[in-house]
């Protein structure tokens, strides 16, 4: 019988640096020729899209004025493109070129409506981030560049500019017995803030270069007071965040101006305030009262990044379910080889086991990334439109941040797939590997974001477990100078986006190391 072979020892193609490429190609052929795996991966992508768009369509938002539903007011945007709150009482006048303003603050008081525990009365008091001080600002239009030095309700003297920047000065409050002097000096593009206890000995608080200040700016006194935030745990997970109206009043004297300012009256503006609360209508409106060189300003609102709105990652609720499917496919991709003894054939084709593991990890990671990235992009782009069409406000983020979220979530799924694959090599059993992967990645995230745990425990889970990787999808950062419910369930992760992702990568690297040991040490 003829074998149809002329001579043994077919000429071997040039071996060497292409070997790994061949190995990758072989793994790709392996993957694509099992229909179940391909379908599973596509299903993961589809789940991301469908669940995302479904939750976006179910999210409606509207604004009303009394009983009448109205279109929501436009949200101002800061110099860096972020959504901002820019509402305050401002007594100001123009300043051309360099100059300075100096004041003395002798009092900061206010009211808080219906605070805890009983929410049944209006009490005197100031919230921690109530602000009173001096400011230079591009114009009275909301969202324009500014720099300010201020006393606060509970955070001492601060110098802030352009909403996101905050520098701490001396702590402590302000009273008639211990007033606080503030000074803000413009020199070219640079603003320098000073504070003093007596008006003679000054301490620098900080400097700022607000974005694109024109030569003529508005300079003056301001007061504002953010809403009082209370967070209640809801039954069975979830939380209820409530914000209640507050008002701060500050007393200023010894107002001094240097530089090219027109003489005459101050302009008085209540920037960005609706003035519709009963308190404002019947007790004390926001504004300015003057009596012989002493000015009392009352204000409500905040000058800070706005945290209230939908985030782009809210459309990615399907990523968690997609991740479970990805984990199952990744584990099957390796566990099937052990169950069928196919791992022997694989190791005969390439006896260098580290290369085999590397090729498999690279392939499942690349396949997952390529399958889920389009899904993530479609979900966010279409999901944003649906959310907006439903009246939701989406907190704007920079293009770079949006790209980071899109690539980051696809990378999160890809790295999770590699982790699952490594666990598959370690356990050699599909069920054990899937369960372990879900327990270390999915379960901590679910526990942390559904508020079955206290916030601090949830945060530790998202620092210490591979679920930390979900931080990569957070588009709006947490600001220390804005009071907020910065909990995982509200979408705020304890680690920075790439730091959280690095934790997941660290676990994955460790699992790959274990897998390599297992693959090398043990008989196949």
């Amino acid at each position: 019988m003829s074998t149809g072979i002329a001579a043994p020892a077919r000429s071997e193609p040039r071996a060497g640096r292409h070997d790994f490429a061949h190995l990758l190609r072989a793994e790709w052929t392996k993957f694509r020729t099992v229909r179940g795996w391909v379908i599973g991966m596509l299903a993961a992508a589809l789940v991301v899209v469908l669940l995302g768009l479904l939750s976006a369509s179910g999210n409606h938002s509207s604004c009303d004025s009394g009983p009448v539903e109205t279109s929501c007011p436009a949200v101002p945007v800061g110099p860096d493109g972020e959504a901002v709150a820019d509402a305050f009482t401002f007594m100001h006048r123009p300043l051309a070129g360099d100059g300075a303003i100096t004041v003395r603050v002798t009092s900061l008081t206010g009211i808080i409506t219906y605070p805890p525990p009983d929410h049944d009365e209006i009490v005197p008091g100031v919230v921690p981030w109530a602000k009173a001080g001096i400011m230079v600002k591009e114009s009275t239009r909301q969202g324009t560049a500014y720099a300010a030095v201020m006393v606060t309700g509970a955070h001492g003297v601060r110098m802030q500019h352009d909403f996101t920047q905050d520098t701490a000065g001396r702590p402590g409050g302000v009273t008639a017995e211990s007033p606080r002097w503030l000074r803000l000096v413009r020199s070219g593009d640079t603003l320098t803030g000073y504070e003093s206890a007596d008006g003679t000995s000054w301490t620098e608080v900080g400097t700022a270069r607000p974005a694109g200040l024109p030569s003529t700016i508005q300079v003056g006194l301001f007061v504002t007071s953010p809403g009082d935030l209370t967070v209640k745990q809801a039954d069975l997970g979830g939380s209820i965040e409530q914000v209640r109206f507050t008002q701060a009043s500050a007393v200023f004297d010894h107002v001094g101006l240097q530089g090219d300012t027109p003489s005459g009256a101050w302009s008085r503006d209540v920037v960005g305030s609706s003035g519709t609360t009963d308190w404002e209508r019947f007790h004390r409106a926001n504004g300015v009262q003057e009596s012989g060189g002493t000015f009392t300003l009352s204000g409500s609102g905040d000058i800070a990044p706005r945290m209230d709105g939908q985030t782009i990652e809210r459309t990615l609720t399907g990523a968690l379910t997609g991740l479970i499917l990805v984990v199952v496919v990744a584990v099957m991709y390796i566990a099937a080889e052990y169950r069928r003894g196919l791992i022997h054939t694989t190791l005969l084709a390439e006896p260098r086991r580290g290369r085999v593991l590397a090729a498999k990890a690279l392939m499942i990671g690349a396949v997952t990334f390529c399958a889920t990235l389009p899904a993530v992009v479609v979900t966010v782009v279409v999901g944003e439109r649906i959310l907006r069409a439903n009246g939701n406000y989406i907190l704007p983020v920079s293009a770079l941040t949006e790209v980071r979220v899109l690539i980051g979530v696809a990378a999160l799924l890809a790295v999770a797939a590699v982790l699952a694959l490594a666990l598959g090599v370690v356990f050699r059993r599909g069920v054990a590997a899937v369960v372990t992967a879900v327990v270390v990645i999915v379960v901590p995230h679910v526990l942390a974001t559904t508020s079955v745990l206290p916030d601090s425990a949830a945060q530790w889970l998202l620092r210490l477990t591979p679920a930390a990787g979900f931080a990569v999808q957070q588009s709006v950062p947490e600001y220390a100078h804005v009071l907020g419910h910065y909990a995982p369930q509200a979408g705020y992760y304890p680690l920075a986006p790439w730091a959280g992702f690095a934790v997941l990568c660290g676990y994955t690297a460790a699992a790959l190391g274990l897998a390599l040991l297992r693959l090398r040490r043990a008989d196949a």
Partner: protein, 319 residues
């Protein structure tokens, strides 16, 4: 480059079980070497060590002068069929071969060649899950042939083959050797190898018990035996043992004589005037020689002699 498999002093233990106990042999080019021994003798373990799947505690195993792990594109150096069931059931036969081909830098053209070679063309695009064991064996052989290697190792390749397939396999193995390749074929049944193998490596309890040609194995077993029927048993035993023969009662009124040729037995009995009704010579078969050699190596021997049909004779003769 030598087309060989060289196994030298392999030792391996699994816990308290000794799987390999100084296994040494060489497989040369241009012939089919039968690797035979009872189940558990260490055949598969040896092959797995040669192929770098298992690590030996001691000893070396070289393919064409190099350890398997040092081979680049190993399927160009050695083709192996270890476990015919080792394939993803939902993948088609062609795709199974395709990923293997890709791993060696080969293309789909070579895949179609080996499919043709093993006669699987009509089933090439069917899922392996629906294959019979025989078809899987052919698929495994196709995989082994992808790189057209000078060295081939097949572990029990005839398992599950129909009679036609067994005939095909014999011809295929012979043709591979005729092309100058080194071919190692394992089996636990000597009958599968006696028409195919040029050379035999007989193993038992993790070591080689015979490394010889087929003719040499029968001779080495020295199982030639003479059956004697006589009414004067004690006189016959006395005459024959005096001449150096071993005599044993084999039942049914017959005596088994070993150590003397039949002609010499007749002459001795005539000298002492011992009457006899039958003297018959018996030549051992390869199977008997094999059973004799591996007698001590069978780990789980049937407790009832009758169960080991057709092998009892050899064992009795040696008793």
């Amino acid at each position: 480059m030598r087309s060989t498999i060289e196994v030298n002093g392999l030792r391996k233990r699994y816990g308290r079980t000794t799987a390999l106990d100084g296994m040494s042999f060489t497989v040369g080019p241009g012939k089919v070497t039968g690797f035979v021994g009872p189940n558990g003798a260490g055949k598969s373990t040896t092959m797995r060590v040669v192929l770098g799947l298992d690590a030996a505690d001691e000893g070396t195993a070289l393919v064409s002068g190099r350890p398997y792990a040092a081979l680049r594109r190993p399927m160009f150096h050695v083709g192996a069929l270890l476990d015919a069931a080792a394939a993803q059931p939902s993948r088609t036969a062609r795709n199974h071969l395709l990923w293997l081909a890709h791993s060696q830098g080969l293309g789909a053209g070579r895949v179609d060649e080996v499919i043709e070679l093993v006669g699987l063309r009509s089933a090439a695009r069917r899922r392996v899950g629906g294959f019979s064991l025989g078809m899987r064996q052919r698929l495994g052989i196709a995989a082994a042939m992808l790189g057209d290697p000078p060295v081939l190792m097949f572990d029990e390749p005839s398992n599950g083959l129909d009679p036609e397939g067994i005939v095909w396999m014999r011809g295929f193995l012979r043709s591979l050797a005729a092309e100058g390749r080194a071919v190692l074929v394992s089996s636990h049944l000597m009958s599968e190898l006696q028409d195919t193998a040029d050379h035999l490596v007989v193993v038992g309890r993790g070591r080689v018990v015979a490394d010889t040609s087929v003719a040499g194995l029968i001779a080495a077993a020295s199982l030639d035996r003479v059956t004697l029927r006589t009414s004067a048993r004690s006189a016959a035993v006395t005459a024959l043992t005096r001449a150096g023969a071993a005599v044993a009662d084999t039942g049914h009124g017959a005596l088994g004589v070993t150590g003397l040729a039949a002609e010499r037995v007749v002459a001795l009995l005539n000298d002492d005037a011992v009457p006899f009704t039958e003297v018959s010579a018996h030549r051992a078969t390869l199977e008997e020689a094999y059973m004799h050699l591996t007698r001590d190596a069978v780990e789980f021997r049937a407790a009832v002699p009758g169960v080991a049909q057709g092998t009892g004779r050899g064992q009795e003769a040696a008793r």
